[in-house]
Symmetry: C2
């Protein structure tokens, strides 16, 4: 085989023009079936695939989307990516991955670098360490964007979320029904609507049951791992809560570790419940009651929404997609 195979080569071998080859490959009505067949056959024989750079340049379509997330090494996000990738594959799209490590500057830098036509659209779950919706308000004007799970409200685009408030309310109620009166809250994503909704579900459920939320029972997530363990231990020593409601998976290991270190029995001394997509939750000791978000389906839905925009189909559909999480009751809440 001499040289790369491109439409010029196909045209030469078939003794027809480049334009005809291009149109034949794109199944244009201008080309006769006979010619199309000749082109298709040779293209297959020579294993021709169009040069993406050339088509992108000319057509302004990349068949590529970007996924911008805090971190892939996370049960929720890796499942979401799986869901996204599945849909992208169905539409013949390629998927670029960017990790922000919860840094909004990174976020901006990535999205800015994608505005020059590298991708047709962006799927993102925003970073938690700074409120940043101004930036997104401008971004959605420049490129199709779908936000999932960690979203900013009142943005003019599709958003896929879960029923954070309701499920938190339900979970808190479950703890109360199990007899808990002093439920500590392990607070994550406090800069984001998702985190706030979870917290509101918790406080409203307390109120609805005649309990008062208390500042001293709240532990905020710190990025340094050891700190969370220390905080939780301190919480136990100072307040002796009878339950921990963890709003993010990252608190599970420090929470269990604290109980082990302080020789607290779960669920007798303290009940534990957490948002989580950890597959081993039921094998923990004791098995962990979880709020499990449909991470894969969230990815699926978010990708579908993006393709609605890209294919200009269903743009008038409801743009706030809300999926249901499930409360899976296990031994750690013991009732």
């Amino acid at each position: 085989m001499s040289g790369e195979v491109n439409i010029k080569r196909l045209a030469q071998e078939l003794n027809i023009s480049i334009a005809t080859v291009s149109k034949a490959l794109n199944d244009s009505y201008e080309i006769s079936l006979k010619t199309k067949t000749r082109v298709w056959t040779l293209a297959k024989a020579l294993n021709y695939t169009p040069n993406p750079a050339a088509s992108n340049l000319r057509s302004n379509k990349t068949k590529t989307i970007a996924v911008i997330i805090p971190c892939v090494a996370n049960n929720f996000f890796s499942l979401a990516i799986k869901g996204i990738e599945e849909i992208a594959r169905q539409y013949g799209y390629h998927v670029l991955i960017y990790q922000t490590h919860e840094d909004t500057e990174m976020e901006k830098s990535f999205t800015n670098s994608l505005l020059n036509g590298r991708v047709d659209g962006i799927l993102t779950s925003v970073s938690s360490n700074e409120y940043n919706d101004e930036y997104y308000r401008e971004l959605v004007k420049k490129i199709p964007v779908v936000l999932f799970d960690r979203v900013y409200e009142s943005l003019d685009t599709f958003k896929v979320t879960t029923d954070d408030y309701q499920i938190s309310f339900e979970a808190t109620t479950h703890l109360i029904e199990c007899g808990c009166k002093k439920i500590a809250y392990l607070y994550g994503l406090d800069q984001l609507p998702a985190g706030r909704a979870r917290f509101m579900g918790y406080t409203d459920a307390l109120h609805a049951n005649g309990l008062e939320p208390r500042e001293e029972l709240i532990v905020k997530y710190q990025p340094e791992e050891e700190v969370n363990l220390k905080q939780i231990k301190q919480l136990f020593q100072d307040q002796q809560p009878d339950a921990l409601f963890s709003s993010i998976e990252e608190f599970i290991i420090p929470a269990y570790s604290a109980c082990i270190d302080l020789k607290l029995n779960i669920p007798e001394d303290v009940k534990i419940l957490s948002f989580s997509n950890m597959s081993s939750a039921r094998l923990l000791h004791p098995s962990l009651t979880t709020i499990t978000q449909p991470a894969f389906e969230i990815g699926n839905e978010a990708a579908k929404c993006l393709f609605k925009i890209l294919n200009k189909k269903g743009i008038d559909d409801e743009r706030d997609v809300v999926l249901k999480s499930v409360l899976i009751k296990r031994a750690s809440t013991g009732c």
Copy 2:
């Protein structure tokens, strides 16, 4: 701002030629510092970024690599991706993700679709359900490829693996030292060198200690989840092994579940040990002894190797990079 900002626009506004702008942006020696500064300043002011399709087309460089793996929703692979992404970011590269779902046909289809200049190189961990090294032998001739963890041997390219044989030998020896005489093997990746090496480490350690490997003590992994649980239960009923050596993480949940269902105590009745990158291993009941591969570092190293090829630096370095796994002894092996 009228219209998109490209080098033509910059050239017009500065009253210089397109070529000068291009060269200035690329910091060419042909351009005076004065002109460069003018160009850089305006480029920054107008938020110019080069059109990737155009540069790709002309320069045949995409600044993009592909990662082809069985599945992202997996502790090992998501950590590896994290490691890869980190290095790619340092080099200013973009990362495309493709999931094969262990299907070699998918693998071929993805790699074939990447041979037309969409990416500069490929990082991959091959699928387990079919032996397929012929294909890779041809592939590595066409595009820079680095294989990690699940590799084929004797391929003419960089490979990043772990000390599967040695660590399996060590782990098996640990079980024997804990008094086990009837160690069952939960066999994964049996089509691949990594899986075979793990198995060999196991059998050789048995032999070294005067024990015979037995066919009846081997359970092969099945993609359908329930089947593995059934198989392991059957194994317990038929053979009463005193230990399970699991060569892949996917066996952990069925193994623990089987013990729960059959009311077997770990580690008294049976000791369990598994390859795993599960962060909650130490919170299982009882905490799980693991062989933990340095997944993040594998991703790191693999990416570095790819950039050695792409930047033509260090191509003469050792092309078989072998990293060390660690055996973390916990309660499930109880000694």
